[in-house]
């Protein structure tokens, strides 16, 4: 999709240096593996740009939709406005997370706190090494972000990315396609919405949900899960802060209303809801599969629930 629209430039060593300087000035976040073995998006420690993308345990979404962010404060009868974030960069983002970013850009198209951060961020993708859990699919949806860099080429993914490349001296263009991993998209299940809806009473929901601990880890690490709640915090000086925090559709309160009625009671229903969201989308994104195939949910689930396996069974295919 975006491949065909992304102008690709040959990078000379001097252009790459200039570009690296420009990016490091934006105090970039980059995925880095810590001593505990976890890969986190954190400030680039040595000021040297990496050349490869890594799949961070918690994905890129946390930069634009933080796990907890202040929406407003209230004091002496007045609501305060938002503060504007400083410009920043994120580098070393894998292609699947750039797709996820495109998806979140659609969801939060009219969300001011999200768009404030997006407008001030330079997002730079890099080539990744394919993991055994990867099931990415270049046809799934377009990419967001500004630049994609390998050591010899740069792809402009946005007008801002293109302007930066030109300002850094990039001139000669090529037709090189983006270096997607070579995994076959054929390993992804083909579940239609009709099959999903007609299987509302299928035994697999109860079976799978029986093991589910409702820990919600799958949603936390999912690059396209975005549901949130808003909770207040009172300070001793009488001021109040409203925070937006990640919520989780596996939590029992998620669809409960005052008076106690629960519109999605039971884990099986909540598992089914997550599957619906992931595979078929809500609202304006209805029809858009948002599983970018990063494999984080499969890896993190303590009881080995795999949405792809459920989808495969529902679609009547045999497991590979």
């Amino acid at each position: 999709m975006t491949d065909f629209l992304s102008p690709n430039y040959l990078l000379t060593p001097s252009t790459l240096d200039t570009l690296a300087d420009a990016i490091t000035k934006l105090s970039p976040l980059a995925p880095q593996v810590n001593a505990d073995g976890l890969c986190r998006l954190q400030p680039l420690s040595e000021g040297v740009l990496s050349s490869q993308a890594l799949s961070s345990f918690v994905p890129l979404k946390k930069v634009f939709l933080p796990p907890r962010e202040k929406l407003w404060s209230f004091q002496s009868g007045q609501f305060s406005a938002l503060k504007q974030p400083e410009p920043f960069a994120v580098v070393g983002v894998p292609l699947c997370d750039l797709q996820a970013l495109w998806y979140l850009d659609q969801v939060f198209a009219d969300d001011l706190p999200y768009q404030n951060r997006r407008a001030r961020a330079l997002v730079v993708g890099m080539p990744c090494e394919q993991d055994k859990e990867c099931r990415c699919d270049r046809q799934l949806m377009p990419l967001a972000g500004d630049l994609f860099l390998d050591q010899e080429h740069a792809w402009a993914l946005s007008p801002a990315g293109e302007a930066l490349l030109r300002a850094c001296g990039a001139g000669e263009t090529t037709n090189k396609p983006l270096p997607w991993p070579t995994a076959s998209a054929g390993t992804r299940p083909m579940l239609t919405e009709e099959q999903y809806r007609s299987a509302a009473d299928a035994a697999i929901w109860a079976e799978a949900a029986k093991g589910c601990l409702s820990c919600g880890a799958c949603s936390v690490v999912c690059p396209t899960c975005y549901c949130f709640d808003m909770l207040d915090e009172s300070a001793t000086d009488g001021s109040v802060t409203r925070n937006r925090s990640w919520d989780n559709c596996f939590f029992a309160e998620h669809a409960k209303v005052a008076g106690g009625h629960d519109f999605r009671s039971g884990r099986a229903n909540r598992l089914r809801f997550r599957m619906e969201h992931k595979f078929f989308g809500f609202g304006a994104l209805h029809g858009q599969n948002s599983c970018v195939g990063c494999g984080r949910c499969r890896t993190v689930c303590p009881v080995d629930i795999d949405l792809d396996q459920i989808a495969t069974r529902l679609s009547g295919e045999e497991l590979a």
Partner: protein, 275 residues
């Protein structure tokens, strides 16, 4: 871009107790706010939380008026406030009742319990239309006679022949003595339909009540002959953001807060598990 998550400060202007734990609150927002029947606002009590509510009246003199039941933690805190206290309002959110469809059509409003509150907002909009000549029929069911909201007002409007009213109550030792024009029965609200004389083909229906009400009555109205595109229900859900982002209210793949909360039966038939 407007920040939909940022409330507008509003002063608690008035509190009118109506029934036990069902008071009418009116708020005066700092900036004028439009709110059509069936749409909703999120009321914020800083430090406590927020909840969605539809108006029970037209916006008059800038006032947003809602009948709010003391039903949970945040509404409990609202009941402790005094006039002049400052709260926050966000909205208006969602799609309300299609008022243009009610023009020159008889209106059949069917409420169960607290469902009368949003329908009273619709009723006020219909009564405010000076050109309106068509009938307005209100069928309203409640647990007991004392819990019928806006009861006196509805009886008054009936006496003035502006509307026709039928009440039903689940439990009652004795039925209240109402005006002769007002029917009151013991039973469920859909039983009020059985001997109702009306013209389904030229009627638009609006239904609001607990989930159980929708299971039977919407299709019953269609069976009687009201076209499915002219039967409307307003859905209750856990609405947090109001703008189709936070996902709590989703049913049948749709954001109830944004695409609804008012839907026609024609739409609801395609929305598996929404009712």
């Amino acid at each position: 871009m407007k920040d939909a998550l940022q409330p507008v400060a509003a002063v608690l202007h008035n509190i009118v107790p109506m029934a036990t734990d069902n008071h009418i609150f009116s708020f005066l927002p700092e900036q004028p706010m439009a709110l059509a029947p069936g749409q909703f606002v999120e009321i914020t009590l800083p430090g406590v939380g927020s909840f969605p509510v539809s108006a029970c009246d037209q916006v008059r003199d800038g006032l947003i008026t809602a009948c709010i039941r003391r039903a949970g933690r945040v509404t409990e805190a609202l009941y402790q406030l005094e006039m002049g206290d400052v709260i926050g309002l966000r909205g208006p959110f969602g799609k309300g009742f299609p008022l243009e469809l009610f023009k020159d059509q008889d209106a059949l409003l069917i409420a169960g319990g607290l469902g009368m509150a949003p329908l009273r907002g619709l009723l006020q909009a219909l009564l405010d239309d000076p050109h309106r000549k068509a009938r307005i029929i209100v069928l309203y069911g409640s647990r007991e006679p004392e819990a019928l909201l806006f009861r006196e007002e509805l009886v008054e409007l009936s006496k003035e022949a502006q509307i026709e009213v039928r009440f039903s109550v689940d439990f009652a030792e004795t039925l209240p003595s109402l005006d002769d024009r007002v029917v009151c029965k013991i039973g469920l609200v859909n039983e009020l339909l059985t001997d109702l004389n009306f013209a389904p083909r030229q009627t638009v229906a609006a239904v609001c009540g607990p989930p159980a009400l929708y299971h039977c009555i919407l299709e019953e109205l269609a069976l009687i002959g009201i076209p499915a595109a002219k039967i409307f229900a307003t859905l209750e859900r856990r609405m947090r953001c109001g703008v189709g982002e936070c996902c709590h209210c989703v049913a049948a793949g749709r954001y109830i807060c944004k695409d609804g909360p008012v839907f026609s039966l024609e739409q609801l038939r395609t929305m598996t598990e929404a009712i």
